[in-house]
């Protein structure tokens, strides 16, 4: 996709290229088996293991290259055939913004009502919350890199609030990683 949006401030905000995303729903047993069939593992509650994002006790978001989403979806669907489960391609529903830089925790903490101190929010954790007024899943990929998964229809809003939170003159310096 061309025209990926980005912004440079306290952090770098970058819209990620189109990514394959599949919603998989079922109980733990069903999801574990289905994920195994495509070479993935069910993450711990509230965590993301890179490919798979924990969404709720009966839902995960499977991420894969956009080119192979059809193939992965077909594999998940055949693995869950005749089971009480759902696998659905939602790639076009969502947009991902990558947030990188020492102020990553700080910028997110300005927008989401969540405790982003490292003891409460370790690397690898994912939290469904709100970013200002829109639903969002925040994944802390590394100590100073996060991904915000939001609905595509409100991507412009997300970029706007991220821009004001990451305004170069809006530093707070609350977190140890970003002490001034």
């Amino acid at each position: 996709m061309s025209n990926l949006r980005s912004f440079e401030g306290l952090v770098t905000v970058r819209e990620m290229p189109l990514r394959g995303m599949i919603t998989l729903r079922g109980d733990t047993e069903v999801m574990t088996a289905a994920l195994k069939s495509v070479g993935f593992e069910l993450p711990e509650r509230g965590m993301c293991n890179g490919a798979v994002v924990w969404m709720s006790p009966d839902e995960v978001l499977v991420q894969c290259p956009h080119e192979s989403v059809g193939q992965t979806l077909a594999a998940l669907q055949s693995a869950t055939q005749s089971m009480h489960a759902l696998a659905l391609d939602v790639s076009d529903t969502r947009t991902v913004f990558e947030i990188t830089g020492a102020a990553t925790r700080e910028v997110l903490a300005k927008l989401a009502p969540i405790d982003l101190r490292s003891a409460q929010f370790p690397v690898g954790k994912v939290r469904r919350t709100r970013l200002a007024q829109i639903p969002c899943a925040v994944w802390l990929r590394e100590e100073s890199a996060a991904e915000a998964i939001i609905f595509r229809s409100v991507a412009e809003y997300a970029l706007g609030v991220l821009q004001s939170a990451a305004h170069p003159q809006a530093a707070v310096g609350y977190f140890a990683s970003n002490k001034m």
Partner: protein, 109 residues
């Protein structure tokens, strides 16, 4: 600020991350019930100053419902528990008793 921990996703959420779902443990009276029962189901609600039981929705979050027991006067939270129950579990009732001896709410105490 009211902070409730969703028992489904385990996250501590402030009330702006939750949706209030009204009184907990209502028994539905539908077709075939008496007018009095139906009216009570629709309209009669507790409005206590003190211990109260409520339904909350974890939205934007894991999308599940859960129950919470709190004090409407102090906002003290006694605990949260599964929505898959028709009455407060023992550990929640014990937690309330420890803080508010002699409490009662509808048929529970």
């Amino acid at each position: 600020m009211l902070i409730l921990t969703c028992p489904n996703c385990g996250e501590a959420k402030d009330e702006t991350e939750l949706h209030a779902g009204g009184e907990a443990h209502l028994k539905r009276f539908g077709p075939g019930s008496s007018d009095a029962d139906f009216e009570a189901y629709l309209f009669e609600r507790e409005n206590p100053k003190g211990v109260h039981f409520e339904r909350w929705h974890c939205a934007p979050g894991c999308g599940k419902w859960f129950h919470a027991a709190r004090c409407t006067m102090t906002n003290e939270v006694f605990g949260t528990y599964s929505a898959q129950t028709t009455e407060p579990p023992e550990n929640i009732k014990d937690a309330i008793t420890a803080k508010r001896p002699g409490w009662h709410w509808r048929q529970f105490s």
